[in-house]
Assembly symmetry: C2
Homo-oligomer: 355 residues x 2
């Protein structure tokens, strides 16, 4: 009997709604599998908490989370709290504190109608972006000097350590080898002559240990073009924190939008909890109206199942998602349907129950 102990942070805006449906799906699995159980502990952290308590999470919040197997997060951000405050003190803090240095973001087209691209099908758009998730452009290093004066200058330093760069690139080579796919590194060595030239060197160095893996290396500008014109080129992609951020939203655009885009923030060693989240924001404008699409949140639950060795269930969740996407009218408005957030979760649980 396996129990997965999950800290739930519903967060802001549509976060609670979509996470609720993800939990519904996990409970439906639990009901079907006598060897698997989940326990859920909710944390009220987020921007509302900040506005009441003056902090995004408790002072010992990281300690409180440390004992869990996983964190299941909705969305963070709300008008009235500057984004860089809300995110650095919750989402980004968790990613960094728990060394969740791998961000796994699948870019897979589950139904051809979902892509805005002409003539592309699920065979053409089916890859995995592995985003560095602990340092790089998001190191948080920088300064503002001479504030308000004519000579004012803002400095933002990307910090690429050998350890941090090697481990993400190695993870990506392992994944490419394991799944027998090509590996593409996306960087920008022609302009960023310190960080990205270093990245490219590490990609080559580590690659010597993986002569069986076929590799490509693209500039980020060219890659963003190829995402649109030739998504077939990509199988496993490894890239920096910032480029991964940009490219995975672009990937989401190709596969049905943010309502379907999931992300796993992984500490591969299981030394700390890993975090699973839809990559969309808190969308305060549609919060509480049953309009939010819970499929991204459910997809990220399937990533959780995969990570804990329950790949069969992970696959089943994606199969049901594929089936549900055949009937757009049963989906939320962003996908052309009339269903509410809850309807989609109910139907999902129902279909799971019939498996």
């Amino acid at each position: 009997m396996k129990n997965i102990n999950i800290a739930v942070i519903p967060g802001d805006g549509i976060g609670p709604e979509v996470i609720g449906e993800g939990i519904k799906v996990l409970k439906a699995i639990e009901a079907r599998d006598s060897n698997l159980s989940f326990s859920f502990t909710k944390f009220p952290w987020g921007c509302e908490y900040y506005l009441q308590e003056g902090k995004m999470m408790d002072a010992d919040g990281i300690d409180q989370l440390a004992g869990f197997d996983a964190i299941y997060l909705g969305a963070v951000g709300y008008p009235g709290v500057p984004d860089h405050i809300s995110l650095w003190n919750l989402l980004l803090r968790i990613r960094k504190s728990f060394d969740q240095y791998v961000n796994l973001r699948p870019i897979s087209l589950l139904h051809p109608e979902l892509t805005p691209l002409k003539g592309k099908s699920g065979d053409d758009i089916d890859f995995l972006v592995i985003r560095e998730n602990s340092e790089g452009e998001y190191a948080g290093a920088g300064d503002r000097l001479f504030q308000g004066k004519p000579e004012e200058v803002a400095l933002q330093t990307g910090v690429f350590s050998r350890k941090g760069t090697e481990r993400i690139i190695r993870y990506a080579y392992e994944e490419a080898r394991r799944s027998n796919r090509t590996l593409t590194s996306i960087s920008k060595g022609n302009a960023l002559q310190y960080s990205m030239v270093f990245w490219d060197e590490v990609f080559e160095e580590v690659g010597r240990e993986y002569p069986d893996v076929e590799t490509y290396s693209y500039l980020v500008d060219a890659a963003s073009l190829y995402f649109v014109t030739d998504p077939e080129r990509f199988e496993v992609v490894v890239t920096s924190n910032l480029f991964g951020d940009i490219l995975t939203d672009l990937g989401a655009a190709l596969t049905g939008g943010l309502g379907l885009a999931a992300g796993a923030n992984i500490n591969p060693e299981h030394k700390y909890p890993s975090m699973f989240e839809p990559i969309h924001g808190s969308a305060p404008d549609i919060a509480g109206k049953g309009l939010a699409n819970p499929l991204a949140s459910i997809w990220s639950a399937s990533q959780m199942l995969d990570f804990f060795g329950e790949e069969e269930w992970g696959k089943t969740v994606l199969e049901i998602m594929r089936e549900m996407l055949q009937e757009p009218q049963q989906l939320t408005p962003d996908l052309g349907g009339k269903a509410t957030t809850q309807d989609v979760g109910d139907r999902f649980a129902d279909m799971l129950g019939k498996r």
Copy 2:
């Protein structure tokens, strides 16, 4: 009688071919307009030069160029010369030395068949990206410490000065006001808490002087999604050096590829020469075969005409381009045609002659 004194740097790979056709078009205009003339002075700089002479341009290259009105550049980069060397010593050096702080990149769909997006027409995709072009992530500031050791670290610092940030944002507001379009700033304040929070503040501050301009502000990840799903949202866009690099290649993907993407590196004060270039690379694999599409290079020539007050001719060039794009078989292979680089230039000059 106006003469525009142009320094021509054909550069590497397909550069000379496409620039040759651009010059052909300018000469055809000269033949039709008794009040306008061009003089062309070629510089042999680039990677071949580097391999022979050990330098990308002459030591006093910047001085040699300083007296020209404009620089017309093909492409830089060739196998055997690391990109960060070739570019920092030629293209990026010119942009910086001549304070070409505005990079104008039109994203306009000239024919509906050219876009890979479903159901989008020229009305939907028609905007201008104004990219900061002199500092920011491309400041060239950084270091590599403890090289080769386990504790190695690469640092790359984005430098955003008040002067540099204000002037590009002000330029963009002026352009939005002049053309009565909305202005969208693209940044990433939620993660890059020094540089991009500063950018956002300056965007707001300068905006107070332009209450008549309708503004939007997007995160770069969201913006890259909207480029694909809702390009209608954009009219004038202002963004940082790196984000502009990425987003304009993405924009090129939406409008027919790099074979059609032009860029103007502008010093608005005319204190130094401005530079006009197709934004594609040197594509050494197809160089010398007549396969390269010269339309990006010709489009950038039309930007040059605009910049020197010859908007009528600039518009005429774009009209002819639109006409030519109606007949794909008369275009280069990247656009589905059978014509050579030269054929396209000849036809263009011919059509100009008939105007």
